[in-house]
Symmetry: C2
Subunit: 342 residues, 2 copies
């Protein structure tokens, strides 16, 4: 527990490395990107953000509240190769978090998902290869890449059997990042992220950041619908823990070409998550409904991250319990909800 | 050896099934597509061919010599969704063989490879899902999807670790076909093909159909360059054997959703292949040169197909020895070489 004494979750040495670092965050107005931006600015990095602001993804300009004048913001789509070329060329660290985020929407329009989640990613990497091959590049993959789970907790060696276009394109992008590492010697890092939640996530719809959406529902004193008995196990990681992992991986030398499963490492039933939300907010209720076919088709089964690789090789561990994370998220929306409602 | 008595390699029952069948061949002017077309026409199928005729791929209008008036030919790119919609909608069997074929070229331009070998494939499948979900669809994947080989002979269960954009996009396309089978119930079949060769292959450059190119070099009495000692093992499958496998898989009910490794099942060293070409043609010579870095980087190691899955579940087996296949290919070019030179 060497880092628990450190209140921010990243060491003084890591903070030193961030000072003056030129960082680009693609998809920087979303939940992960904007929380990263706050932490980077706090530690004196020079942050540039690009975001295409595509609806209904997570971009929200209010996410930069407090650091507006400390970051450079570009409205740019990762598919716009000319703009990306200019953006990547002088950066030291590039977080590529841009993308379509809904598992179910990718089934409705797989071509659109492929455009954003594969072609866009590939175009960014080609620009980096040609114009800035020394950059460190981090990619946000997903636990969904594994498809139906064979065994929990899930370590990096479990086979990847993506079952939806979203998962398939994330998985193809991961392999593409590995290719740029192996053949072109670019310093890539891939995270396969469990279920992230926390402040600055979108709450307009239920397609992702489900905890965030449920906090809104509870705040509205609504009824939360649970598919089936709610006994399916998930791994919810609080956004600050995830951001710390990204920053530590970005500033470490032993992460090049690596893939990490990133989560809290804690098994939580869906039902318990809902109950924690309702208890924390102090309003709302829940009911059980049958699984819709469209969800059942692509249900992966129980998921918990085996975080031993990332926590033993990097100075990182998750610091927030689900209870604490939900409490912080709720406090955030209590104060700022008007900026997040439709 | 139940089928050896059958001179054509496909049974009378299979031939019966082809009669009047509406078949679409995407990439139908290339080596595999045009040989398929000849066999299908011979067996009274109604054949429509689409080909984008992109240079330097394998399309050659002379490949339809003899069946010109028996097929419908469209100059269409698989990325042209509107045309594909019209082409797929009334077909019973669709062979999707269109694509960029060079492993090394995909490294030079991965975006172009992704456009053709992934986005184009995905667009075809979306059109089939929407306008003709009852069609049987066959896809030509590649042995290169496996990447560096763990163990020979290679069966379907060996892990897929694609190492180039070409292999990566073929692999992503395979998963995408599996997705359409599992979630949308479309009758897909995937072949991971070893090294095909034979009549009607392009011989203008050395980027693929290496045996074909070497036959040309030998006919020109040139020197064939062998990388290293030439001891690397390959699996060369003659085009007629491959075409038979495609036809049998297309007309069988137990192939839906299946993936097959398809090859001759015979281990041949590169050196022996070259010697067989030179002996057959009776001209030319060879020399050893060091491996170029660009090839060494993506060399997969020895490869032989384990054909037990396809040969035990379908009435198929390879019928042609390398010697016979090279002889037939040579005889074809001896007669027609002017239609194949640059």
């Amino acid at each position: 527990m060497k880092i628990n004494s450190n209140i921010s979750g990243i060491s003084t040495k890591t903070k030193e490395k961030l000072k003056g670092k030129k960082v680009l965050i693609l998809g920087g107005l979303g939940m992960i990107g904007s929380n990263l931006a706050h932490k980077l600015v706090e530690n004196n990095a020079e942050v540039t953000i690009a975001d295409a602001c595509i609806e209904p993804f997570g971009a929200n300009i209010f996410n930069l509240n407090g650091i507006n004048d400390k970051v450079i913001l570009n409205k740019t789509d990762i598919r716009d190769s000319e703009s990306i070329k200019l953006l990547v060329k002088d950066k030291e660290i590039i977080f590529n978090l841009a993308g379509q985020i809904s598992h179910n929407d990718s089934i409705k329009d797989p071509l659109y998902d492929a455009e954003l989640n594969y072609m866009g990613q590939l175009s960014v990497m080609e620009n980096i290869r040609i114009f800035n091959p020394k950059a460190k590049v981090l990619f946000s993959g997903s636990r969904l890449q594994f498809g139906r789970i064979q065994q929990i907790p899930v370590n990096e060696k479990q086979p990847s059997n993506p079952e939806t276009p979203y998962a398939l394109h994330k998985s193809a992008a991961e392999r593409m990042y590995q290719y740029y590492y192996k053949i072109h010697n670019i310093s890539t890092v891939v995270f396969r992220i469990a279920n992230p939640y926390g402040m600055r996530g979108q709450i307009r719809h239920h397609k992702y950041s489900i905890i965030n959406y449920f906090i809104r529902k509870a705040m509205e004193d609504s009824t939360i619908k649970i598919f089936g008995d709610g006994k399916q196990i998930r791994d919810y990681i609080y956004i600050e823990d995830l951001v710390n992992a990204f920053i530590i991986a970005a500033t470490s030398n032993n992460t090049n070409g690596e893939i990490y499963n990133v989560g809290s490492g804690v098994a939580t039933t869906f039902l318990n998550m809902v109950k924690t939300v309702l208890n924390t907010v102090g309003m709302g209720k829940f009911e059980h409904i049958p699984w819709p076919d469209s969800y059942l088709n692509v249900e992966t089964g129980d998921y918990v991250t085996d975080i031993s690789k990332i926590s033993t090789t990097l100075e990182w561990e998750p610091r927030m319990t689900l209870q604490q994370g939900i409490e912080r998220t709720f406090q955030y929306y209590k104060k700022n909800i008007k900026y997040y409602l439709p």
